[in-house]
C-alpha cells in the first residue's frame, strides 16, 4: 500500500478491517497534490524498495516487523473504536 505519512495510520486501520493489519505501507511526506511529475518521480523512487519488500517478504517476516507498529497505529487508546484490535 502507498500512502502519505499523514494518512498511513488510517490506511493501516482500513487494511485491518479487510483482514490485513500487517500490510507494508510505503510512505511519502504529505502533501503531494501540488507536486508536478518531475517532483513526484524521486518520491516514487524513494518508496520502491519498500514496495518490493511488501511484494516479496514472507508474511511471517512482515508480521514480525510490523507487530508493534500495527498495534499502535490501528487502535490508539481513546481515539478509534471501530477498527479491528490487533
Amino acid at each position: 500500500m502507498i500512502a502519505t505519512d499523514t494518512f498511513s495510520h488510517f490506511a493501516r486501520r482500513m487494511a485491518s478491517t479487510q483482514g490485513f493489519p500487517y500490510v507494508i505501507i510505503a510512505e511519502t511526506p504529505n502533501p503531494i497534490r501540488q507536486l508536478e511529475p518531475e517532483a513526484l518521480r524521486p518520491r516514487a523512487e524513494a518508496m520502491i524498495g519498500t514496495v518490493i519488500d511488501g511484494l516479496t517478504l514472507p508474511p511471517v517476516e512482515i508480521k514480525h516487523r510490523l507487530k508493534d507498529v500495527a498495534r499502535q497505529q490501528i487502535r490508539p487508546q481513546g481515539v478509534v473504536r471501530s477498527s479491528v484490535p490487533v
Binding site: 494518512f7 488510517f10 486501520r13 482500513m14 478491517t17 481515539v79 478509534v80 473504536r81 471501530s82
Partner: protein, 339 residues
C-alpha cells in the same frame, strides 16, 4: 435473516438496554448515542413497512462497498429510533445517495466534514410529521432526528465511514448526527422544490444534497427585496469545497416579502448569483485562481456559484427574519413510495 445475530442476557430491561448500547458502541455501530436493539421481530416489522423484500438491494455504498439491502436499512433505522413507516423515506434517500453522480465516496473519506442534507417534499411530510416549520432543523422532532440519524448509521455501518478508520474527517461536524427537514410548502408562495425538479405536487420526494456547512442568516426585517437579498448574499461567500452550489432555505417571512414585491424564484436565484461575489484580492491567490479556472470568477471578483441554476431555493422554517444558507449542491431527488 442474512445478518449475523447475537444474544445478550441481563437481569432487567434497563440492564439489557444498557448492555445493548455498550455492545453496539464497542462494536463501532453507533454515532456515540444510545441505540434501540434491532431484534428479529422489529426487523421484520420494518421490512414489512417498506413494502419491499428483505434482500432487495437498494444501493452499494462506498467506501467499503457495503450492500444496503432493505433488511440492512431496517436494522439501522431501528437502531436510530425510527418508526417503521419511515422506511420508504430511508430507501428513497439511499437510492439518491447511491446515484453514480453523487459524490458519496469523496464524502465518506475526506478530511472535510461534508455530509448529506435531506430535503423532504410532498404529502409524506404531514403523514410522518416531518417538521418543515418552526424549529425544522431540530432538535425536538422524532422523524427529523431519527431519519437523519439512520442515514448516518447507514453511512457508517454499510458504507464504512468509521470515524478514524475510513473517514479521515479532521473535525467532524454536528451536522453529521442528523441533517434533514421538510420544505414548508404550505407557506411557499412559489412552486415547491420538487415541482421545480419535474415531480408532481402530490408526489412525495426526498432530495439529498452534498452539504458542507450551516449558516443561519439573521436580519432584513421591514426592508425591501433588494435589502433582503443583499443581507442574504453577503452571508454567502465563496468557499473552499463548496463550489457545487448553494442551498438557501428561505424563511417564510422573507419568501412572502419577495413574492409580494413581484419576484419569481428565478429572480431570487439570479439576484443572489449577482450579489454573492467578493473582490478577488479578498482571497488567497490560489483559491481565486482555482475559482476563476472553473468559471466562478473574473478578473476582479470571485463568485459563490457558477450560475443561477446552482443556487437552490426552498422555503422552510417558522416566522422570523431568519434564513439558512447551506453550501450544498449536486442534488439527487427520489420519489418516496409509501406503502
Amino acid at each position: 435473516m442474512t445478518q449475523a445475530q447475537m444474544q445478550l442476557e441481563a437481569g432487567s430491561v434497563a440492564q439489557l438496554l444498557t448492555r445493548a448500547y455498550e455492545h453496539a458502541y464497542e462494536a463501532g455501530w453507533t454515532d456515540g448515542l444510545p441505540i434501540i436493539p434491532a431484534t428479529p421481530d422489529a426487523v421484520q416489522q420494518f421490512i414489512a413497512a417498506s413494502g419491499c423484500p428483505a434482500d432487495k438491494l437498494v444501493g452499494i455504498l462506498p467506501s467499503r462497498k457495503g450492500r444496503a439491502t432493505v433488511e440492512v436499512i431496517a436494522v439501522n433505522a431501528i437502531m436510530a429510533g425510527c418508526r417503521p413507516e419511515y422506511m420508504p423515506v430511508l430507501i428513497a434517500a439511499v437510492e439518491g445517495l447511491s446515484d453514480p453522480t453523487y459524490p458519496l465516496e469523496l464524502m465518506q473519506v475526506t478530511t472535510n466534514p461534508m455530509t448529506p442534507f435531506l430535503l423532504v417534499n410532498g404529502p409524506v411530510r404531514n403523514k410522518l410529521e416531518i417538521n418543515y416549520g418552526t424549529g425544522c432543523l431540530g432538535p425536538g422532532w422524532r422523524a427529523n432526528a431519527t431519519i437523519g440519524r439512520a442515514i448516518r448509521l447507514i453511512l457508517i455501518n454499510v458504507g464504512g465511514a468509521l470515524p478514524g478508520v475510513y473517514s479521515k474527517v479532521a473535525f467532524g461536524s454536528p451536522l453529521r448526527y442528523s441533517y434533514i427537514c421538510g420544505e414548508n410548502e404550505e407557506e411557499n408562495p412559489w412552486t415547491p422544490f420538487h415541482v421545480d425538479r419535474g415531480f408532481r405536487r402530490e408526489d412525495s420526494t426526498v432530495t439529498v444534497f452534498k452539504a458542507s456547512n450551516f449558516c443561519n442568516i439573521s436580519g432584513g426585517e421591514g426592508v425591501g427585496p433588494d435589502e433582503i437579498l443583499r443581507q442574504i448574499a453577503t452571508n454567502m461567500p465563496p468557499m473552499y469545497g463548496g463550489g457545487d452550489g448553494a442551498l438557501l432555505l428561505l424563511g417564510v417571512n422573507h419568501a412572502h416579502s419577495l413574492y409580494e414585491a413581484g419576484l419569481t424564484k428565478r429572480d431570487v436565484q439570479q439576484r443572489l448569483w449577482e450579489l454573492a461575489r467578493l473582490p478577488a484580492d479578498h482571497f488567497a491567490e490560489t483559491f481565486a485562481t482555482t475559482e476563476r479556472a472553473v468559471g466562478r470568477g473574473d478578473a476582479k471578483t470571485v463568485w459563490r456559484a457558477h450560475s443561477p441554476d446552482e443556487i437552490y431555493v426552498a422555503v422552510a422554517g417558522g416566522p422570523g427574519p431568519q434564513n439558512v444558507y447551506i453550501g450544498a449542491g449536486m442534488p439527487q431527488t427520489r420519489v418516496i413510495r409509501t406503502v
